[in-house]
Symmetry: C2
Subunit: 259 residues, 2 copies
């Protein structure tokens, strides 16, 4: 449907190998970020005691645009992330253009079980975004990001829970807005590329099973809290759980069958 | 059973908040690393064109000890990682003590659906290791690591596929050994900690379903490649798939029920 936007190639986001799997397409990259439950956010501390190691924090995030809320996934968007923001991280995010961060998301779709360990692999999707993180201070923008993130945990949950958050809740929630400078992704669909010698060796093929085991994430039947008073699971929840499970299973199984 | 080793606390690995979830226990941290299919490995490039952003690569990894192969998961181990190692990364890993890296693994075990978005959360496990990566050059050590990693994809797969790798395969496989300096983990089992006001508001509790949806990863029935000649799925594969699925479902479901 019309134009496809891509992230510009730069030294930090250009794939050097497996170029056939690389993608710079905004929609593909943003989709991987949005459908991954935990993102890893990496940054450098300025504290010498932190040593030479980048920090990595697990966070929840979603792509969105506060100024253009109806923007499509193939448009330039910002990444709103939520999680434990340390004092150190927050103060770094207040300096100049914000804290330079790298955001990574990876999903396994299958185990590629080929004839030799050398050709074993995963079918996987991964995305990396590079940008500058700033603390969201505007109450309206924070509300926008909280709804975006809550509905990514379970679509319809914002409406389905006690909203809006009160002042204390808003105040205690830390959201970072990452202005994206670039990004890249890898969508590995490479199948079992066994070598001719192995495929032609009856000793090998008669003994070694080869193929693909699909892998996907399942959401189980929600289990009520002891304090829950709603006897029947709301329809939007049932629909979300069933819908997600169907999509995930179908995606992984079709990829595995395509080889 | 006896001693429990912990990683020493340092500026880079000490949790400042949610201390009740933090762990420094070697067995717990190593188990999260070993059971996570894709690890994120972060490091800093010395190339100015890379900008201020740490690099993050998706890689496969396992804890192990080449000099003490029978070492237990609660003992000091090295992390062997496999994946795309760029020329840049490999040359950095040859300097001095190796390339400083941070390795992260996170797993979602459940969606915590509480009365308010503010209390929404995941049940999750995450681990971070800090260390120095060096390229494995010794052929015996490389074989050791390849077997460790192949059997982590599917237990028994090394025996079940065409092994040992030939010289060309060994030569073309890049393995990094990360000498671990420290690490930490978070095992978040915090349930829906709704506030008194919400729990006592009939308007809220009569409308908002609260509880936990367990989440786990499923391995589907392996799908044979077009070239596969082994008619019946080998027993070790069937056992692995069933065993992993049972453990994963049980773990997530029990955590969700415990609230």
């Amino acid at each position: 449907m019309g134009r496809t936007l891509v992230y510009p190639k730069a030294a930090y986001n250009t794939a050097h190998r497996h170029n056939e799997c690389a993608t710079y397409d905004l929609r593909e990259i943003h989709t991987i970020i949005n459908t991954t439950k935990i993102l890893h956010v990496s940054f450098n501390s300025t504290d010498p005691a932190a040593g030479p190691y980048p920090a990595i924090l697990p966070m929840i995030g979603q792509m969105g645009s506060f100024t253009h809320p109806s923007a499509d996934l193939n448009e330039p968007l910002e990444c709103y992330i939520h999680g434990y923001v340390s004092m150190r991280m927050a103060s770094l995010a207040r300096i100049n253009d914000g804290l330079p961060v790298t955001i990574a998301a990876s999903k396994v779709d299958g185990l590629v079980l080929s004839l030799t360990p050398y050709s074993h692999n995963y079918i996987y999707r991964s995305a990396v975004l590079f940008g500058h993180a700033q603390v969201v201070t505007d109450a309206e923008e924070k509300l926008f990001a909280m709804q975006l993130i809550t509905d990514s945990v379970m679509s319809g949950r914002w409406e389905g829970s006690r909203t809006p958050p009160n002042g204390a809740e808003l105040g205690a929630t830390a959201i970072l807005r990452v202005k994206i400078a670039g990004g890249s992704g890898k969508i590995s669909e490479a199948g079992a590329d066994d070598k001719k010698e192995d495929l032609e060796s009856e000793q090998v093929t008669s003994r070694v099973w080869s193929g693909i085991a699909p892998v996907w994430e399942v959401i189980g039947q929600p289990i009520p809290a002891k304090t829950n008073a709603v006897k029947i699971l709301p329809e939007y929840m049932d629909k979300f759980v069933q819908g997600e499970n169907e999509i995930s299973e179908k995606h992984a199984t079709e990829l595995a069958k395509a080889r």
